[in-house]
């Protein structure tokens, strides 16, 4: 066991734990955009910088292991100033779209900008993706991808890569031109993306959005929310039900280890609890590459064989 002090509070932590996890376990929140309890630390957003042992060089809480006797300050004026500057750098390269953004209310960038009093400002400088960023990738019926909102935290890439056979997303380009690309910088439709929604579940901002939720215009704060488990297979991945008035939609929630999330599961949950059965789509290899095509619920849930068999058996017993 390791004893350390965070913001004057003496706490116990396990060896190998990061400062961030130790703090979180004791209800001390440290802002972080790229941290996810189920993923390896990226340490890329740099928001979780904290002061360690009074030294002038701050350390990232997510990537620094706790040490016995460590004294951590998470909220000094200097640290807050650095965080404010980092948030400003992110906002300076982010569209001012919170009014209509699907992520509003649960967007981490919005949350921290509010907390630290950082606002959008007009400037003549460059914007991520240039012209291209005006276009949203609408090729997938399940996932909306908006490059201009991406803060390059890398969580979507990490979670996608947790499953070897997926690994669709990766960084492309470098420096200011860095972006997240699907396969060889293709649309989600043309790529090998299986629409599992793992990336959507971890995106801290509005860069990856569940399209079917957005089409129903339900934002999380105005909905009754409930977590349910998928029953399509023994993994039991978690989905969230969002209910507003007579509308009920679902979205993938937990891609944690051993729970891969998949499109079939998603459609299964949709069929089970959503207020309306909307057209399912599946990806097909065509001569022109991969295409999303409309399908039937029976086909989407791979029920055809079972239904045939049931029908056959029942007609037999009717005889």
């Amino acid at each position: 066991m390791i004893k350390l002090t965070i913001n004057g509070q003496k706490i116990a932590a396990e060896d190998g734990m990061s400062i961030l996890d130790a703090a979180l376990a004791h209800g001390i929140e440290i802002p972080a955009l790229c941290h996810d309890p189920d993923l390896k630390p990226e340490s890329s957003c740099r928001l979780c910088l904290v002061e360690v042992d009074g030294r002038p060089w701050p350390r990232v809480a997510c990537g620094t292991p706790v040490r016995d006797g460590m004294v951590v300050e998470t909220n000094t004026p200097e640290i807050r100033e650095i965080r404010r500057d980092i948030l400003q750098l992110l906002l300076d390269n982010h569209p001012n779209d919170c009014l209509t953004c699907q992520k509003a209310g649960e967007c981490l960038l919005q949350k921290y900008a509010y907390e630290y009093g950082v606002t959008f400002r007009t400037h003549e400088g460059a914007r991520r993706g240039g012209e291209r960023a005006r276009f949203t990738d609408t090729s997938s019926p399940y996932i909306l991808r908006d490059e201009s909102k991406c803060i390059l935290c890398g969580k979507c890439i990490s979670t996608c890569a947790e499953l070897n056979e997926r690994s669709v997303l990766s960084f492309a380009g470098r420096g200011f031109e860095t972006k997240v690309a699907a396969d060889r910088d293709e649309t989600l439709e043309a790529s090998t993306c299986v629409s599992c929604g793992r990336c959507v579940a971890v995106c801290p901002v509005g860069a990856l959005i569940d399209r079917r939720v957005r089409e129903k215009k339900i934002r999380p704060w105005e909905a009754d929310r409930q977590t349910i488990q998928c029953k399509a297979c023994e993994y039991g991945c978690e989905y969230e039900v969002l209910e507003k008035g007579s509308e009920r939609v679902i979205r993938p929630l937990s891609p944690s280890e051993g729970r891969p999330l998949c499109l079939k599961g998603r459609l299964f949950v949709e069929a089970e609890v959503s207020s309306e059965l909307r057209t399912p789509y599946k990806k097909e290899e065509t001569e022109k590459g991969r295409k999303f095509v409309r399908t039937t619920w029976i086909e989407a849930l791979e029920l055809d064989g079972i239904l045939d068999r049931i029908a056959h058996t029942e007609s037999e017993s009717d005889k």
């Binding site: 890329s44 740099r46 750098l89 992110l90 470098r174 420096g175």
Partner: protein
């Protein structure tokens, strides 16, 4: 084949005997040569036709059947690249400079056949009243001391036997047979050798940490991803003396318990890569690499990995990612490479020049190494001197040599009667050192004290015609290109700093420009993930320190005092 000490000595003596004209006395000189002609075969001289000169000379020799009288050696760098292509005729070390291919005919006829040097082709500063100075006596070489470059210019880098002739691979024998791994690390630690890649970390401590790190598989990496503008030290060492690095890596492997090494070298160095490949092949053939070296049971395998042109891959964790075949992006440390480096195994990474010092230290001992240099920065440093300086080239100086000695004496001062403005050290991570700090000794700590850094050794001299803001813009442009894009402050902050600098140089600066720059510089320095971002603002901060008035002239008077910034040339007032 398997190598023994006797065989090594045999090769040494055999080869040395035919090298006696090159200034290495041997007991039984057996070479009938009257002349030995060294022609520099380093990238810079090769680009000014040294291979054609060598070919022409060989043709002349064959035509006249003089093969037994004249030896022709393609060597590594002599240093004074600005005077290339360089040809040195021995005995006498007569220094011919900036030759055209046809000039070699005259040297052949007059000097080699007739014994009369060709005065008008000889480097002017080596001409005295009573003859010609040896290359090694010219003012450029005066303060130099060659340790890392000890064999460069003397041997044919493509012939392992010539490296062996100068004591090559004896350090390896000594380490493997006469020393324990601990002994080796102790000597390296005692020598005080510090990382020549620029960080200045104590090399022995790095070796010790990797040795102590538990693991049955460990790796040695040589970082040859030299990438900053104006740097060519590592390239020159690999081209001029590749075996010194191979031998050192093998010694390091023995010391830390690794049997596999990688040289990570940039693909933009084709000649270095080719020589290194050849050298590794020769070392394998002679049993100086591979299984059971010197019959000790120690084995070491060495492979080359090519970089794909990313500056950030000089950062150790990004370098490891690149070797593993992943995108070259740094990761947060800890864990450190000594614990979890390449493929998660303990890994020791040193720079080319650091390695090149190792055989010397093993053979001559820590004390010999410490005789040169300063207390905290013992030894020498190889520097690539370029920019507005008379003697552009590769130099190796004892640590503690002052910048003034470097610029005025070794460098020969600023050409065309211009005034010195600054020397840029440490590449994009370093800073500009103005005239007021010219007496600073070149060593790790003293350069850091004045807000610059040693860096890998690129030294770019700037004269009065250079605009300080434009220099900062140049380096920031480089950084923006080379930032990997992973962490927010470096990715976003460097771009914004560049935008402000462009605004200033194009007349759009205002009173907020400098404060904004300073604030962004601070954030990027404190918050970036790796060294690239943490030091990215140094060119701005250092030019602001020495040349703040120039920034202000751009901003307030819309005037570029050096007359460089085109958008402001209408407001040019200099010299009018």
């Amino acid at each position: 084949m398997s190598m023994t000490f006797e065989k090594l000595k045999e090769i040494r003596e055999e080869t040395l005997n035919r090298m006696n004209l090159r200034g290495f006395p041997s007991d039984k000189p057996n070479a009938p040569y009257r002349w030995s002609v060294a022609i520099c075969m380093e990238t810079s001289c090769m680009s000014s036709k040294s291979p054609q000169i060598k070919q022409r000379l060989l043709d002349l020799i064959v035509r006249d059947g003089k093969e037994n009288e004249i030896e022709v050696v393609g060597t590594g760098c002599f240093g004074l690249c600005e005077a290339g292509p360089i040809v040195i005729v021995r005995p006498g070390d007569t220094f011919y400079y900036r030759l055209d291919v046809e000039d070699i005919d005259r040297i052949y006829e007059s000097h080699l056949l007739g014994g009369e040097p060709v005065r008008d082709l000889i480097y002017p500063e080596s001409i005295t009243d009573d003859g010609y100075l040896s290359y090694f006596e010219i003012p450029f070489m005066a303060h130099q001391e060659r340790v890392a470059l000890r064999s460069s210019g003397h041997i044919d880098p493509e012939d392992i036997r010539e490296y062996i002739a100068l004591g090559g691979y004896e350090a390896l024998y000594k380490a493997l047979v006469e020393m324990t791994p601990d002994d080796v690390i102790d000597v390296i630690t005692e020598s005080g050798l510090r990382g020549r890649g620029g960080g200045g970390f104590i090399t022995g401590r790095k070796w010790r940490a990797t040795q102590a790190s538990p693991g049955d598989e460990k790796f040695i990496i040589c970082n040859a991803d030299e990438g900053e503008p104006g740097a060519f030290m590592d390239r020159s060492i690999l081209e001029g003396d590749p075996h010194s690095v191979i031998e050192a890596m093998t010694i390091a492997g023995y010391a830390i318990g690794s049997d596999q090494g990688y040289v990570y070298v940039r693909a933009e160095y084709p000649i270095a890569v080719e020589r290194l490949e050849k050298a590794i092949g020769q070392a394998n053939d002679l049993g100086l690499l591979g299984a059971n070296i010197f019959g000790t049971g120690f084995s070491f395998n060495l492979e080359i990995r090519l970089g794909a042109g990313a500056f950030v891959c000089g950062e150790t964790t990004a370098l490891a990612a690149s070797i593993e075949g992943r995108r070259g992006m740094p990761r947060s440390r800890p864990p450190y490479s000594a614990d979890k480096g390449l493929w998660g195994k303990p890994t020791m990474i040193n720079n080319v020049e650091t390695f090149a010092n190792v055989p010397y230290i093993i053979l001559n001992g820590a004390e010999a190494f410490k005789k040169v240099g300063t207390e905290n920065s013992p030894g020498t440093k190889v520097l690539a001197l370029s920019g507005k300086i008379k003697n552009v080239g590769l130099v190796e100086i004892p640590m503690g040599t002052t910048l003034r000695q470097l610029v005025e004496e070794i460098g020969g001062g600023i050409p065309n009667g211009k005034a010195f403005k600054a020397v840029q050290t440490g590449g994009p991570s370093g800073g500009c050192i103005g005239p007021e700090l010219l007496d600073t000794p070149i060593d790790f700590d003293r350069l850091a004290e004045i807000g610059s850094m040693m860096g890998p050794g690129g030294m770019i001299v700037l004269d009065e015609d250079v605009c300080a803001v434009d220099v900062a813009r140049f380096y920031m442009d480089f950084i923006v290109d080379e930032s990997c894009g992973k962490c927010t402050p470096c990715r976003e902050g460097t771009k914004r700093m560049l935008e402000i600098l462009i605004d200033i140089t194009e007349g759009r600066g205002d009173e907020t420009s400098i404060p904004r720059l300073e604030r962004l510089a601070r954030t990027t320095e404190l918050a970036s993930l790796c060294g690239l971002g943490q030091t990215a603002a140094n060119p701005i901060l250092s030019t602001l320190k020495s040349f703040r008035d120039e920034y202000e002239a751009h901003i307030k008077e819309k005037r570029c005092p050096a007359g460089v910034c085109k958008a402001l040339t209408n407001n040019l007032t200099k010299d009018d």
